[in-house]
C-alpha cells in the first residue's frame, strides 16, 4: 500500500510537472504580455513592471525561477490584480466552484445510480425505455444548451428561478442541475449496462438459489459489483465538474475558479494561469488516486500496483 502510494505520488508529480511546463511555454507562445494592453502606462513604466515581475529575463530563466518558487509553495503575485497573491485568488474562488461541483457530483450519483439500476431491473419495459431516452439526451445535449435553455425556461419565461449569482440556496438549483446533467446521464447508462451484466452473473443465480429475496440479492450482491464502473468514473467526473463549470459560471455569472481561469488567460495574467492549472491538475490527480483506493476497498480482487 505504501509502495503503491509512493509510486502514485511520483507519477503524479511528474504529470503535474509536465502540465506546468506545457502551460508555461504555451502561454508564452502568445505574443504580447500582461502590460501591453494598458495604454495608460508609459513604455518606461512597462519596462519597470516587467523587471519587477522578472518578465524581462530570458524565458528559460523565468521558467526556472517559477519552478523553483512553485516547488517551495510560492506561486507568486498576480500580475493584474495588484497586491493579491495567486494563492489568495485561488482560495477565494475555489470554494465557490467546489461547492457547485461537489453538489453536482452528489446529485449525479444520487440520481444516476438508482435510475440506472431501475432501468436494468425493468429491462425492455416502458420505464427502461423512458430512462434510456433521458440518459441518451443527457449525453447528447452540451452543457451550454442545458444551461441556456434552462435559464430561458425557468429563469426568463416562467420566472421561477433566479438567473445569476449564488447567493441563496435557490440560486443553486439551475447551475447545479445544469452541471450535473451530463454526468448523471452518463452514470445512468454506465449503471444500467453494468447492472445488466451483473444480473446475468452466476453468483446472482447462487444468491437466488439460496432463497434470498429479490431485494436483498439486488442490494447486497448486485449493487456492490455493479457500482464498480461508476466508481471508476467518479475521477473523470470530478475533473469534468471542476473544469466544466467554465460554461456554467459564464452563463450564470458565478464568481468561480473557471471564470477566473478564462479571464486570466485573456488578460495574460501568467502567474494566475500557472497557479490555477497546477492547482486543478493536482486536485484531479489526487481525486483519481483516492478513487483508485476506494475501488480497492469495494473490490477485494484489485491489487494496487
Amino acid at each position: 500500500m505504501i509502495k503503491y502510494i509512493g509510486k502514485r505520488v511520483i507519477l503524479a508529480a511528474f504529470t503535474i510537472f509536465l502540465v506546468a511546463t506545457i502551460t508555461f511555454f504555451l502561454m508564452n507562445l502568445v505574443p504580447g504580455g500582461p502590460f501591453i494592453s494598458e495604454k495608460s502606462i508609459s513604455a518606461q513604466a512597462q519596462a519597470a513592471l516587467k523587471a519587477k515581475y522578472g518578465l524581462d529575463q530570458p524565458l528559460i530563466v523565468q521558467y526556472k525561477n517559477y519552478m523553483v518558487n512553485a516547488v517551495q509553495g510560492d506561486f507568486g503575485l498576480s500580475l493584474k490584480q495588484r497586491g493579491r497573491t495567486v494563492a489568495e485568488i485561488i482560495s477565494s474562488k475555489f470554494p465557490v466552484s467546489a461547492k457547485l461541483g461537489g453538489l453536482s457530483v452528489l446529485l449525479a450519483l444520487l440520481i444516476g445510480i438508482p435510475l440506472g439500476s431501475i432501468a436494468a431491473m425493468n429491462r425492455g419495459k416502458w420505464i427502461d425505455q423512458v430512462i434510456i431516452v433521458i440518459a441518451t439526451c443527457g449525453i447528447a445535449f452540451p452543457s451550454f444548451v442545458i444551461c441556456t435553455v434552462g435559464l430561458y425556461l425557468f429563469g426568463v419565461y416562467l420566472g421561477w428561478l433566479p438567473t445569476m449569482g449564488l447567493t441563496t440556496p435557490i440560486h443553486y438549483i439551475l447551475p447545479v442541475f445544469a452541471l450535473s446533467f451530463y454526468p448523471m446521464a452518463y452514470i445512468t447508462r454506465l449503471m444500467r449496462s453494468s447492472m445488466l451484466d451483473v444480473i446475468g452473473q452466476d453468483y446472482m443465480r447462487t444468491a437466488r438459489a439460496k432463497g434470498l429475496s429479490q431485494f436483498v440479492s439486488l442490494f447486497k450482491h448486485a449493487l456492490r459489483n455493479a457500482i464498480l464502473p461508476v466508481v471508476t468514473y467518479v475521477g473523470p467526473m470530478l475533473a469534468y465538474t471542476l473544469t466544466g463549470s467554465l460554461i456554467v459560471e459564464k452563463i450564470f455569472v458565478i464568481p468561480g475558479l473557471g471564470g477566473q481561469f478564462v479571464s486570466s488567460i485573456i488578460n495574460r495574467d501568467y502567474t494566475v494561469i500557472m497557479g490555477t492549472t497546477i492547482f486543478l491538475a493536482t486536485l484531479i490527480i489526487v481525486m483519481n488516486t483516492l478513487v483508485d483506493i476506494a475501488y480497492k476497498l469495494i473490490d477485494p480482487r484489485i491489487q494496487l500496483n
Binding site: A207, A209, G211, K220
Partner: protein
C-alpha cells in the same frame, strides 16, 4: 400421497425469444426417491439444467413453464408463491453450479456468503451461524476453516471454491441437492475428490441428489438411476446397470460408444455421434435424434415414439423397440 421426493410429470418449458419459441423441455417426466441419486445425462442444450432449475423455480427469463406438473417434497411447484419458493430454496433444496469460479460473489468473504444462508433459513444468531459455517467447512474437507472464512473467493482454488459451494448448499441440510455439472470446470484429480465428497456427505446426511452431467464416467460410479435426455426429452431412463449394460435407445448406445473403455483389451475405435443437435427453434416432427441416428427409419422422421417399458425400472422411447414388437406381432398373425 406421493412416494417420490421429486416427481416431474410431462413438463413443458419454453423460452420465448425474439426469434421465436424455443421448446427447451418437451414432455419431460422424471422422479427421484428419498435418498436416491439420479443422474441426468445429455449434451449441451438437451434441457438437463433447465429441468433442474425449474424444480427450484429458478427458470431464467424469458423461459416459462407451459405445461405439466412438478412436485417436490409435497409442494406443488407450479402453484407455489414466490415467497414460499424462497423459503424452500437453499433450505429444502439446494444447488451447486458448474463453474465455482463465477458462482461465488467476488466482493464478499467466504464466511459472509455461508453465514448468509444460515441466517436466512434458521433461527441461529450471527455467532451460532458463524460456528455452523466453521463446521460446514470442516465437513467439506477444508482445512484452516477460521482462516478460510475470512478469505475472498479469488484467494481460493477452483476445487476449494466448489467445496465452499457445497458447504453453502448443505448449510440447511436440504432434502435434495441438485448438482449441475459440478466437476466439469475442475481438474481431473479434483473432480474425483469432489464426487467422493458428495457421496460421502450423501451417506452422512441422507439427502437425494440429482446430478447433471454430460460425462457418463461421472454418473457410472455415483448414480442409482440414470435419465438420458436429448433435445428436451427424456429418451431413456433406467438403473445405472440397465443403462450401461442394456442400452436400448440409439442415442444412449452412441454415448456409450463414444467413451473410452480402459478394460477393453484390443484397441477399439471410439465411435463419435455424427451430425449436429437439432435446431430447437423448429424441432423436427419425429424423433429429434432421427437425423443423426444410424438406424433411422421412415417412421422416425414422422412421429415421436412412445415409451416402451423394458423392465420395472427401465423405459425408452425408440421406434426400433416398437419395430421388434410389431414384427413379433406380425409373426403371430402370420
Amino acid at each position: 400421497m406421493n412416494e417420490y421426493l421429486v416427481d416431474v410429470r410431462n413438463e413443458r418449458l419454453s423460452f420465448f425469444t425474439p426469434a421465436g419459441e424455443v421448446k427447451a423441455l418437451n414432455d419431460v417426466s422424471l422422479f427421484v426417491r428419498q435418498g436416491e441419486v439420479l443422474g441426468i445425462v445429455g449434451e449441451s442444450g438437451s434441457g438437463k439444467s433447465v429441468t433442474a432449475y425449474s424444480l427450484m423455480g429458478l427458470t431464467a427469463h424469458p423461459g416459462r413453464l407451459v405445461g405439466g406438473d412438478l412436485y417436490f417434497n409435497g409442494h406443488h411447484i407450479n402453484e407455489m408463491k414466490e415467497r414460499d419458493m424462497r423459503k424452500m430454496r437453499g433450505n429444502e433444496v439446494s444447488i451447486i453450479f458448474q463453474d465455482p469460479m463465477t458462482s461465488l460473489n467476488p466482493v464478499y468473504t467466504i464466511g459472509n456468503q455461508i453465514v448468509e444462508v444460515i441466517l436466512l433459513h434458521t433461527d441461529k444468531n450471527r455467532q451460532q451461524a458463524h460456528e455452523r459455517a466453521r463446521e460446514l467447512l470442516q465437513l467439506v474437507g477444508i482445512n484452516e476453516p477460521d482462516k478460510r472464512l475470512k478469505q475472498y473467493p479469488h484467494e481460493l482454488s477452483g476445487g476449494m471454491r466448489q467445496r465452499v459451494m457445497i458447504a453453502i448448499a448443505l448449510a440447511c441440510e436440504p432434502k435434495l441437492l441438485l448438482a449441475d455439472e459440478p466437476t466439469t470446470a475442475l481438474d481431473v484429480t479434483i473432480q474425483a475428490q469432489i464426487l467422493e465428497l458428495m457421496m460421502d456427505l450423501k451417506k452422512k446426511l441422507g439427502m437425494s441428489i440429482i446430478i447433471i452431467t454430460h460425462d457418463l464416467g461421472v454418473v457410472a460410479g455415483m448414480c442409482d438411476r440414470i435419465a438420458v435426455m436429448y433435445a428436451g426429452k427424456v429418451v431413456e431412463c433406467g438403473t445405472t446397470d440397465e443403462i450401461f449394460y442394456h442400452p436400448s435407445h440409439e442415442y444412449t448406445k452412441g454415448l456409450l460408444q463414444s467413451i473410452p473403455n480402459l478394460n477393453e483389451r484390443e484397441h477399439k475405435r471410439l465411435v463419435p455421434i455424427e451430425g449436429m443437435p437439432v435446431d430447437m427453434l423448429n424441432p423436427p416432427k419425429g424423433c429429434p435424434f432421427a437425423p443423426r441416428c444410424g438406424s433411422c427409419m421412415k417412421i422416425c422422421l414422422k412421429q415421436m415414439p412412445d415409451y416402451t417399458q423394458l423392465s420395472d425400472t427401465h423405459y425408452s422411447a425408440c421406434w426400433l423397440l416398437d419395430k421388434a414388437k410389431f414384427e413379433s406381432q406380425g409373426d403371430v398373425q402370420a
